[in-house]
């Protein structure tokens, strides 16, 4: 890919960035999304399912976006997904993510219905293909927050 890599230390000096400017943003759970992050911390992927109509909302909202019912349960997801589409970030990302370049952000489809934005990790970027099979992995980014991410099921496509 065209373009030389620019070191984050160079940018830090050039733009007079503080250490705080390089701290990655974390999810700030809401009252209605907290169970998702609690489960993720235990390396479980859960989804919010409406008890009245069975609709699964992701992102979860305060009440069901399909029928407006309050009652819901958190169900275990299969941990499988397919890649709907992707981008490989190589430049011009928020400074906290500079050290990760190049990295993949992708739109993934869960067999349970919802679609998510996440990172595809442990993958050979040249072997990324829309429709490829993925499985969930958990990244414990802090003591409090674990981000579910995804990797190719096919080991020959891992990097």
């Amino acid at each position: 890919m065209a373009g030389e890599k620019i070191d984050i230390e160079t940018i830090k000096a050039m733009l007079n960035l503080s250490d705080e400017d390089l701290v990655k943003p974390l999810p700030i759970p809401t009252r209605w999304s907290q169970p998702f992050w609690d489960a993720s911390k235990e390396h479980r992927l859960v989804l919010k399912k409406c008890s009245a109509c069975g609709y699964i909302d992701h992102p979860p909202y305060l009440y069901c976006t399909n029928c407006h019912a309050d009652e819901h349960e958190w169900v275990e997801a299969s941990g499988k997904a397919t890649l709907a589409s992707y981008a490989i970030n190589t430049f011009g990302v928020p400074f906290p993510f500079w050290v990760d370049l190049p990295y993949v952000v992708a739109m993934i489809d869960l067999p349970e219905g919802p679609r998510m934005i996440s990172n595809i990790v442990e993958c050979d970027h040249d072997k990324l293909e829309n429709g490829m099979e993925l499985e969930v992995v958990f990244d414990d980014v802090t003591d409090e927050i674990t981000l579910p991410k995804w990797r190719p099921v096919d080991k020959t496509k891992r990097g």
Partner: protein
């Protein structure tokens, strides 16, 4: 309301680019006076002053606050003003503010409305801009922690569109080339002095695969204004009014994962339903359009909107663009000011510059970019993470 009830009678615009010394206030005052002079009306005829909320305000001297608390009517001496309002819906602001203007005109409170946009990104540091745009297009809880950006959002849509439609990266790049060709004819465009080629666009530095730097829009300072009135009044005070002939809108989602259309190759199908309504409301069709004023912001969005507009040609949108049909001299002129890609991205203002350019074209005052004999065109805008889409059919006459 029927077709052709409202009209625009004058516009004003400042150059887009890096102008750190030019405040939003200065832009707003300047484009207001330009639009008033251009319309040939007395400033005291203005009964309502509408400003678009801008993004990334300076908290020490907040333009948005000053505008919605009535700074502008005082500053321009609009002594007949009775209504002040600010409207904002991101990139769709140009549409939502025009609907506000139409509502005020319809209410009978006044028959003359001034509409203004101003933005100055260059007052903010690169880090402040990076922080803002890390969260502007993406969900802070579900996307931002993964390093999602506006560019990656567009890249994801591009990868999907190419996979599902067979469009090539050269076709995507050709959109940027056509935009640059138009911008070269526009004195107010940010990038108007250097031609680019498909090869150069494809081989530029990769930002978010498959998008290179030249496939990503660049932020610029800028602003524009226009005067809107009833068609009845327009015919009295203006010899070249431009009429709003038909409009239609659709909202889909906030988060891209919740888009009503799941297949990135078929987003145009959904937009086509809305475009068709706009055409029907105007009693015109795509074959009547002389220009397609698309607000893409990224080349793939331009292709998707083209797909939806029913351009009367068998060739797919990407092929049309690569063949030069959407550039100057082409059969189907698209985005004649060079759009966000080459005119510059002024935040909530891209739709305003598209609209103001539409008016200029239909008034026969678009200078070197003038499409000869332009009589009818369709214009669009949308905001957020491609959250919505609005189409407007405009003309310099009301079809009988």
């Amino acid at each position: 309301m029927g077709a052709g009830d409202f009209a625009v009678i004058g516009t004003g615009e400042v150059p887009t680019g890096n102008y750190p010394e030019r405040s939003e206030f200065e832009i707003a005052y300047e484009v207001s006076r330009m639009a008033i002079r251009d319309a040939g009306i007395d400033k005291n005829e203005i009964g309502a002053v509408l400003t678009a909320g801008h993004i990334m305000s300076n908290p020490d001297n907040d333009y948005n606050t000053e505008m919605f608390f009535g700074r502008l009517p005082e500053a321009i001496g609009a002594n007949g003003c009775s209504v002040v309002a600010t409207t904002i819906s991101g990139g769709a602001s140009s549409f939502s503010i025009r609907k506000t203007a139409e509502g005020i005109l319809e209410s009978g409170e006044t028959d003359t409305v001034l509409v203004v946009h101003a933005q100055r990104f260059s007052q903010f540091t690169a880090n402040e801009q990076a922080r803002y745009f890390a969260v502007a297009g993406s969900d802070v809880e579900w996307e931002v922690p993964y390093g999602m950006t506006y560019n990656s959002l567009a890249a994801i849509v591009t990868t999907g569109y190419m996979a599902y439609t067979g469009a090539t990266i050269e076709q995507v790049a050709a959109v940027c080339v056509a935009c640059r060709k138009w911008a070269m004819l526009q004195p107010n465009a940010m990038f108007n002095n250097k031609e680019i080629t498909v090869e150069k666009v494809v081989n530029a530095r990769m930002v978010s695969y498959p998008l290179t730097t030249l496939m990503c829009n660049v932020l610029g300072d800028g602003g524009s204004a226009y005067i809107m009135t009833t068609a009845e009044n327009a015919r009295k005070v203006c010899d070249r009014p431009v009429y709003v002939l038909g409009e239609a809108s659709e909202y889909s989602h906030r988060t891209i994962t919740r888009s009503v259309q799941k297949d990135p190759g078929k987003m145009g199908d959904d937009l086509a339903v809305t475009a068709k309504r706009a055409y029907e409301n105007s009693s015109l069709g795509p074959e009547d359009m002389n220009i397609f004023e698309i607000y893409g912001s990224y080349p793939v969005i331009s292709l998707i909107v083209m797909d939806s507009l029913g351009i009367p040609d068998e060739r797919p949108s990407g092929e049309l663009v690569l063949a030069g049909e959407t550039g100057p001299g082409g059969k189907y002129p698209v985005s004649t000011n060079g759009e966000a890609m080459s005119f510059g991205h002024t935040g909530t203002g891209v739709g305003f510059s598209t609209f103001v350019e539409s008016v200029r074209q239909l008034q026969g005052r678009a200078g070197a970019a003038q499409v000869e004999g332009a009589k009818f065109l369709v214009e669009n805008c949308g905001g957020g993470a491609f959250m919505d889409c609005h189409f407007t059919v405009m003309g310099n006459e009301v079809p009988g």
